[in-house]
């Protein structure tokens, strides 16, 4: 999977749909692609959050600490984004995400994302619209 394939995956994710393809490709280039072996955590609950993960392949489970016990509360399928809140604020991770098979993920750092946003103000308003959409759907 090369940069163009990554671009296609990003374009299919609603959060990034408002970003121009050329900016999105640059964002992909500035991101790190990482392989997680089964059982490896993509991130852990309580960790300082500094990147969003886009699953390019493989699957992962989402767990949450309930009274000191880790409970599975969901799963992540390929071509979905997780931990995207990290791009907008400094909250610690709220859940633990663990690779259930070999996962290949694109890690978009908050730093890269914000640098891109600062150079493309129009993109920022598109993303905010999309976030607003998501919030209204959630409520």
């Amino acid at each position: 999977m090369n940069l163009n394939d990554e671009l296609n995956v990003l374009r299919s994710i609603p959060l990034f749909s408002g970003i121009k393809p050329e900016a999105l490709k640059l964002l992909a280039f500035a991101s790190n692609r990482m392989i997680f072996q089964p059982g490896q955590d993509l991130f852990q609950e309580g960790d300082q959050a500094n990147s969003a993960c886009i699953l390019l392949s493989g699957s992962a489970t989402i767990r949450h600490d309930v009274d000191g016990e880790q409970k599975t509360i969901g799963a992540v399928a390929p071509h979905t984004v997780i931990g995207e809140v990290a791009l907008f604020c400094d909250r610690p991770r709220q859940v633990t995400v663990t690779a259930s098979s070999t996962v290949e993920a694109l890690l978009i750092s908050k730093d890269s994302f914000q640098k891109l946003m600062s150079s493309c103000p129009n993109t920022l308003s598109n993303i905010l619209s999309e976030l607003g959409e998501q919030l209204s759907r959630a409520s």
């Binding site: 999977m1 090369n2 940069l3 163009n4 990554e6 050329e22 490709k25 640059l26 992909a28 280039f29 500035a30 692609r33 990482m34 392989i35 997680f36 072996q37 490896q40 300082q48 890269s112 640098k115 891109l116 150079s119």
Partner: protein
């Protein structure tokens, strides 16, 4: 320091000044003889005065005990010429000796001044450092004192010599004619009075220039220190404006100096020429009226020629004297603090006392009041006592005074009222050889000098030289010279090569584990073992030339491979294989199947390049790489088109600088429509060089397909099979049986590249290597030492900020002291790490130095539970002081096993 520079010079060099004056006086004899001799040669043997007939002889040296030498004309010519030659040599030798001696005097005084100034910095109270700027101070010590040394040798010799010459000429004129002598004296007096007055403004300007130049040095130093802040705040143009404004002021001052300097020069020359004018006018009139002999007038004018030179030089000397005096005053003013530590406080202890003296207990603050520079109270009437062996947590917010309490105990701030006592001793009266060893203080501020990690870690142990170094004959001669020169310039003669580390003052030291054991313990406490091991793994050992280590590493390869297979982690490594392409390595490394070595000469380098190009052309790889280079440029253009050159994303572009983009754009325009064969060689290889740097996992442009990789492997084999022997040495080929000198340690150990696409790949591989090395402690130590040899860079900039705080803390733990004052020392770490290092530290000190007292100003009150006692401060006062139930602290397993 003396207020007058002349007095300072005289105090320290009077004997040498008198000596050189005597030598100069003596040197005048052959000097004047050499002037007279040519006249004797010309008039005598050459023109024949006294040798009217062939048999005529003349007597030379008749003043000696014998009757002198009777020489004919030819003999006299040879004799006088040889005398002339001898005088030339003697004068040369005198000149050489006088100049060298003057240089020596100047350099000694320069060394003395510099040392005096640095010594004063070391004795400044901490509050002084809030006033001074490092850049300005270093500029003063390095540059501003330089002219002072140069003047030293001229300080007394020059006025005596030049004054003597001027007076002689003046006296001669007076002898010829009193009136003309009076004219010469009057004009000389005018010169000596008027010119220095005019030069006063120059001195003022010179002083301003010095201050402004020093301030500029200070600003440059501030820019360098704050470069990250400048970048992140986009204030570079503000800095440019500031610097430009300062340079403008400096320029104005310097230009005015030039203008005035040359005006004065003009006036000086005019006055010098005015005197002959008066001689011609007045002397001529006197001669015409018969009151002066023409011969006398000529003699006066001739004698006057000898006057302006010395006068001018005398004025210059006076100018230089005033100039260096101003410079000296400026410097002394900067280094003249009102209060300074007495030299006795820092005096080096020569006996055993330094190790055995303990601080009396308890350590206590009695009615302690600390004020800031403005006189505001920052700690108010605090009384507290710390027993040995007690672990005390101090908590409070940033304005509570908690940190000030620790600073006061450490002597970083001085009490305004009250005192710090160690038993019955006032801490301020104890020398640093006691307080600086028996109390260890560490805060979040770190201090690093450029050098190895190990040197930085051991820094806190270097209090005094402990042994006499044994030198060979040549070495001891050099050492003796160093000691003598140090004595002559008021410098101490401590031997830097001596052992400065007293193992009695090292925590956790034992004969069996040695210093390395202690270092490993404190690095385990501060969780830095992996960091140091990482430094080692990224080191290339070629420069160290450690063949034994290289052999051991090669032997380790198979075991690492086997362990990776057992743990099912072989995916983490992409091995170097002659039949396959290694995507984690750059294309060029894949092509040559190794790492290129810098050629010993240009000719060999060119031969290597030619052969590589020839081979690529042979297999057709050159065309593919040419196209690949163009594709890389095309992809880069697509990505970065329209972005400003300083856009942060350019940092990810390793193969191209933003400034090079226009060059590549022009190259693209030139070559995109041109047939490969028609492209110039330079353009062709510009694209191929770009392709050489490509790595698919890093850039992901999708340019490396199977066909291309196969072609690279095919070319590689041709290259290695056919390379002439003279060129084979230019490649450090990946050979499983040999150490790769150009590669770092980890590439050598795994004999491949760690696949960085896998999360934590390097950490997992490192864990395996460390596990295997546990069975080879000697090899582990050797590798670990390479990590300790890591150069931390200026101010430790090659370390992360967290590492800087942790190593700084580890350095403190290495010292065996009676009290440890930890003033929020590791606040740059996350909460969990801080808590674990705190537990490790308390455990470590309870095992290695149980009698020591600990005062720890905490960043988080939650961690107070690990202490015996908790003191809470609020609004500069102690509001609570309570004993605590000791909470069990759990050290890291590795530390527990170690102790």
């Amino acid at each position: 320091m003396e207020s007058s520079f002349t007095r300072y010079i005289w105090t320290h060099t009077s004997r040498q000044q008198i000596w050189i004056l005597c030598v100069v006086m003596v040197s005048m004899i052959p000097y004047y003889l050499a002037f007279d001799l040519p006249k004797m040669i010309i008039n005598g043997p050459i023109q024949g005065d006294g040798f009217e007939t062939v048999s005529d002889r003349q007597t030379f040296f008749s003043f000696l005990s014998f009757d002198g030498l009777q020489l004919d004309r030819t003999e006299a010519l040879v004799f006088l010429s040889l005398c002339f030659l001898s005088l030339v040599i003697i004068n040369g030798v005198f000149k050489y000796y006088i100049n060298t001696y003057k240089g020596l005097l100047g350099e000694r005084l320069l060394r003395r001044i510099r040392f005096d100034l640095i010594d004063r910095i070391l004795r400044f109270l901490p509050v002084e450092f809030k006033r001074i700027k490092g850049g300005e101070i270093s500029s003063m010590i390095k540059d501003e004192v330089e002219p002072l040394g140069g003047f030293t040798a001229e300080a007394f010799v020059q006025p005596v010599l030049l004054g003597g010459q001027a007076l002689t000429a003046l006296a001669f004129i007076f002898v010829q004619h009193v009136w003309l002598g009076g004219v010469a004296l009057f004009m000389a007096s005018v010169q000596m009075l008027v010119i220095p007055r005019l030069r006063r403004r120059l001195l003022v300007l010179g002083r301003q220039r010095q201050i402004k130049a020093r301030q500029l040095a200070g600003r440059v130093s501030e820019i360098v220190d704050g470069i990250d802040t400048i970048h992140t705040n986009d204030t570079s143009n503000y800095e440019r404006a500031d610097v430009a404004s300062r340079l403008g002021v400096l320029f104005k001052i310097r230009y005015e100096i030039y203008q005035r300097k040359f005006k004065i020069k003009f006036l000086n020359n005019f006055l010098a020429q005015l005197t002959p004018f008066l001689f011609y006018l007045i002397g001529g009139y006197l001669a015409i009226t018969g009151r002066l002999d023409v011969g006398q007038l000529v003699a006066v004018i001739t004698a006057y020629k000898e006057l302006p030179g010395p006068l001018k030089e005398l004025i210059d000397w006076d100018m230089a004297r005033q100039d260096v005096q101003v410079k000296y005053e400026q410097i002394v003013e900067q280094f003249d603090a009102e209060q300074m530590l007495l030299p006795t406080v820092q005096a080096i202890d020569t006996g055993e006392s330094g190790n055995t003296i303990r601080l009396d207990k308890p350590l206590s603050a009695v009615n302690l009041v600390v004020e800031d520079e403005g006189g505001a109270v920052i700690l108010d009437s605090v009384s507290v006592s710390v027993e040995g062996g007690q672990r005390i947590a101090v908590v409070g917010d940033a304005y509570s005074g908690a940190n000030v309490l620790a600073e006061a105990f450490a002597g970083v701030v001085k009490p305004a009222r009250g005192k710090i006592m160690a038993g019955k001793d006032n801490l301020s009266t104890l020398p640093e050889s006691v307080t600086g060893r028996r109390i260890t203080y560490v805060s979040a501020d770190t201090y690093y000098f450029s050098g190895s990690l190990e040197e930085n870690l051991l820094y806190g142990l270097k209090h005094r030289p402990l042994n006499e170094v044994e030198y060979n004959d040549k070495g001891s001669m050099r050492r003796l010279w160093e000691q003598q020169e140090a004595f002559r310039t008021g410098n101490p003669d401590f031997d830097l090569k001596s052992n400065w580390i007293d193992v009695d003052l090292v925590n956790g030291y034992s004969q069996t584990t040695g210093m390395m054991g202690s270092i490993r313990q404190v690095l385990t406490v501060t969780r830095l073992i992996d960091d140091v091991f990482d430094f080692a793994l990224h080191t290339t050992i070629d420069e160290h030339g450690d063949d034994y280590l290289a052999e051991q590493i090669v032997a380790l390869r198979k075991r690492v491979r086997a362990e990776l297979e057992v743990t099912d982690l072989t995916d983490l490594i992409i091995p170097f294989d002659i039949d396959s392409y290694n995507p984690q390595a750059e294309l060029l490394d894949n092509l040559v199947f190794g790492i290129l070595i810098k050629a010993p000469d240009d000719q060999r380098s060119q031969a290597g390049t030619d052969f590589l190009r020839y081979t690529m052309a042979l297999t057709g790889l050159d065309r593919l790489l040419f196209e690949m280079g163009m594709s890389i440029a095309e992809s880069t253009r697509e990505l970065f088109d329209g972005l400003a050159e300083d856009h942060p994303f350019f940092d990810r572009l390793d193969f191209m600088e933003p400034a090079e983009i226009p060059t590549y754009r022009a190259l693209y325009q030139r070559t995109r429509q041109t047939e490969f064969a028609s492209v110039s060689e330079e353009d062709r290889y510009a694209w191929i060089d770009l392709a050489f740097q490509y790595s698919e996992p890093r850039y992901r442009f999708g340019l490396l397909d199977d066909a291309l990789m196969d072609k690279v492997i095919e070319t590689r084999k041709v290259l290695l099979d056919t390379a002439p022997e003279s060129l084979q040495v230019l490649i450090d080929v990946y050979d499983p049986e040999h150490y790769l000198k150009q590669a770092n340690l980890i590439d050598n150990i795994v004999f491949g590249k760690v696949d960085h696409r896998f999360k934590d790949a390097e950490r997992q591989v490192r864990a395996i290597i460390e596990r295997l090395l546990q069975r080879q402690p000697e090899l582990y130590d050797r590798i670990f030492r390479l990590g300790l040899a890591f150069n931390v860079g200026a101010a430790g900039r090659r370390l992360t900020s967290a590492q800087r705080q942790k190593f700084n803390f580890a350095r403190a733990l290495l010292r065996r002291s009676d009290y440890y004052l930890f003033n929020r020392p590791i606040t740059g770490l996350d909460q969990a790490q801080q808590e674990q290092i705190l537990q490790n530290t308390l455990y470590f000190l309870s095992r290695t130095n149980v009698e020591s007292g600990v005062i720890w100003v905490l960043a988080s009150q939650a961690n107070a539970r690990y202490f015996d006692r908790c003191i809470t401060l609020r609004d500069k006062l102690i509001v609570k002081d309570r004993m605590l139930e000791t909470f069990e602290f759990t050290p890291d397993n590795l530390l527990a096993e170690m102790l």
